[in-house]
Amino acid sequence: MPSSEEIKALVAKIPELDSKDTKNPLLKTRPSEGKLTGPTWDEAVKIVDPIIKGGKEAVAAVVDMLKEVDDGTDYKARYVLHILAQYVCRKGKDEEQSLLADALIAALPGRAKPIQGFLIRQLQVCADGKAAPAIGKFLLDKELGADAAAALLAIKDGAVDQYRAALPKATGKNRLQLIQNLGVLKDTRSAGAMKQAVTDADALVRMAAAWGLANMGDASAVDALIQAADAKETWERAQMTKACLVLAENLQAAGKADESKKVYTYLRNTRKGEAESYVREAAAKALGG
């Protein structure tokens, strides 16, 4: 494996940011102080290939070069890690992909949170479901919960298990994110928890849960969503109405015509005011009226 000095020398080969003296034959416009031009892919592969061949320790050596505050002074190390994440996703690089994901996961413990967030975002680019448990550990973290949830949502494989495991202990924004993401993934096993959440004290949770059930096309949620759509004439009413329309569309597409019709009929009959006439018309149109 390359020595740490060799790793530093490789990273240093990333071109400097633009200065007025920058001479780059590929740059066909004026350089601009502090701006990024970057290497070619051929140049980049000569940097990252020895690093990935150097194994976990070589990747860790690059991670060690990251600074807690992203102010551009460690730009080359960040760029190299991101290039690695892209590189290992090429065809025929399954081994390298697995190695990089393992190396990034191994590098997570004990790092400053901003660095952990950066590493999680690289896992979002290159990792598969094997990384889910390691990322899932951060779902309840106040600062990193959203990054972890996003990475799992992008990876998909293994995400719902992590979300469901974390949900009972989650609070605040993290809880909201988990409910929302379970809805995005149409996790029907979470439908029970979602139905409870439709009457949550937190309006954002209510709306996320309603939309999640609608996105799943859960026919057993019809009554709950119709009731929720009676919210006062505010943002929540519009969102609950949307959930009803989405549910009705999904039920229709799934061949559940009666349940779909129930939702549309409710909306047509209850949106009597001029301000909601567009909802009434949408429902009427769907009913064939």
């Binding site: 350089p31 990024l36 505050v69 102010d71 680019v125 996003a150 995005v184 001029e274």
Partner: protein, 418 residues
């Protein structure tokens, strides 16, 4: 005869005129009369996003689109900006920091959106969910899946949506471009070697990204969490806002995303690219940076019928080596010409103002604009992968390429979702 209300709103008038069954007496000021504009012709209007493009986008409602508007709301996550805009209008115009409080107002009919692009789709959808029509700044969206969600909302709620870039209207007035469109949409041409090369004009270096930006204290009147919205919450730095947001993947996608919709609305009309998506995307660029859009050389977007769209930055790397080549009737066989002759003429394009009044789709409606802005997004996906990929124009997903799909449909921070 039925006594009418003393004032009929725009919605009420438009519905009544569409299916008038009762005869209604209305008072003169409602009809308009001398020096009076009828409420039916007056639209409550809001601006969401009071930065550099806010004034232009909002004034387009009246100056370009000839809507008679009542400015009722100025909204910006930076309260000071919203207050600055509000001072331009009379007393009834209110200031907001949260767009949800704007779109839930019953008296607002039309919304102009001039926020950074990571908010364009969500606010457009929210406004349409609340019954408003929308004029949105370009680019329409920040990633592919957003555009489908906007088009779905436009259809679901029967609203009018338009992206504020108008090259399409100019192309539609050209007999030559209409003829090209008719040929390519007629079905007569199964395979073509036609090609359109757009050389430069993408402000690539201008928005490729300043890497050396340290975190800064958040200004007192800026709701930074709300500014970031669906995008990751990163430390505040001034360059992430106010025009220079264009540098960042989180909010836009460089000069390509900024300028592409301007340059391509017209050619997309001529070559029928607003009806489908490319099936293969290949780019030539440096490796992507994790935060900033960076440089790029060219993008080749190939369609199922053989047509190739080429975008060249002319700012990095050598050009693509390809040349534009159109398609004309004289290139076709007699049988193909018959098919073209029998095909319908391109539909009339109508502007946003006329669309709002007649409820017919606007020229730059969501479905059309989505197909065009996707050209930029798909190019950026290829750049961010560092390789080419295949795309299914029907499912709007990459084919057998989950890494590409992670960029085509990106996670959002709660409570924001499509």
């Amino acid at each position: 005869m039925e006594q009418g209300k003393t004032q009929i709103s725009r919605r009420g008038f438009l519905k009544g005129s569409a299916a008038a069954a009762a005869f209604t007496i209305v008072q003169p000021h409602v009809l308009g009369g001398p020096d009076k504009v009828a409420p039916s012709d007056t639209f409550g209007a809001a601006l969401i996003g009071c930065g550099g493009r806010g004034g232009g986008t909002f004034s387009d409602l009246s100056r370009r689109h000839k809507l008679n508007i009542r400015p009722l709301a100025m909204c910006d996550v930076n309260l000071g900006r919203a207050q600055g805009y509000q001072k331009r209008f009379k007393g009834e115009c209110k200031v907001y920091q949260d767009f949800r409080r704007v779109v839930e107002r019953k008296d607002i009919d039309v919304v102009a959106i001039a926020t950074p692009p990571h908010w364009h789709a969500l606010i457009s959808i929210a406004a349409m969910e609340c019954g408003k029509d929308v004029l949105s700044e370009k680019p329409m969206t920040r990633f592919v899946a957003e555009g489908r969600a906007v088009a779905t909302a436009e259809k679901r709620y029967g609203r009018i949506f338009q992206v504020g870039t108008y090259g399409r209207e100019g192309y539609a007035q050209s007999a030559g471009h209409r003829a090209t469109r008719k040929i390519l949409l007629s079905g007569a041409v199964k395979k073509t070697d036609a090609c359109y090369v757009r050389p430069g004009g993408f402000k690539v270096k201008q928005w490729d990204g300043r890497i050396d930006q340290p975190p800064m204290p958040i200004p007192a009147d800026l709701d930074w969490d709300l500014y970031c919205g669906p995008s990751p919450l990163k430390p505040y730095t001034k360059r992430r806002t106010g025009g220079t947001h264009r540098d960042y993947w989180d909010y836009e996608g460089g000069g390509l995303a900024d300028m592409g919709q301007h340059h391509l609305m017209g050619p997309a009309y001529a070559f029928g690219l607003d009806k489908t998506h490319p099936v293969e995307i290949e780019t030539y660029a440096p490796p992507a940076h994790p935060e900033c859009a960076g440089m790029w050389g060219w993008s080749k977007l190939k369609y199922a019928n053989g047509f190739t769209l080429v975008l060249e930055s002319r700012e990095w790397g050598e050009p693509s080596g390809m040349k534009s080549k159109s398609i004309k009737l004289e290139d076709l066989s007699e049988q193909q010409r018959k098919i073209v002759d029998a095909a319908p003429e391109p539909e009339k394009e109508i502007g946003f103002g006329e669309a709002v009044k007649t409820r017919q789709p606007a020229s730059g409606n969501a479905e059309v604009s989505h197909h065009i802005v996707c050209l930029m997004h798909l190019t950026n996906v290829s750049i961010r992968l560092g390789r080419s990929f295949k795309f299914d124009p029907v499912t709007e997903r990459a084919v057998g390429d989950e890494e590409a799909n992670r960029l085509i449909d990106q996670p959002m921070r709660a409570p924001w979702h499509l």
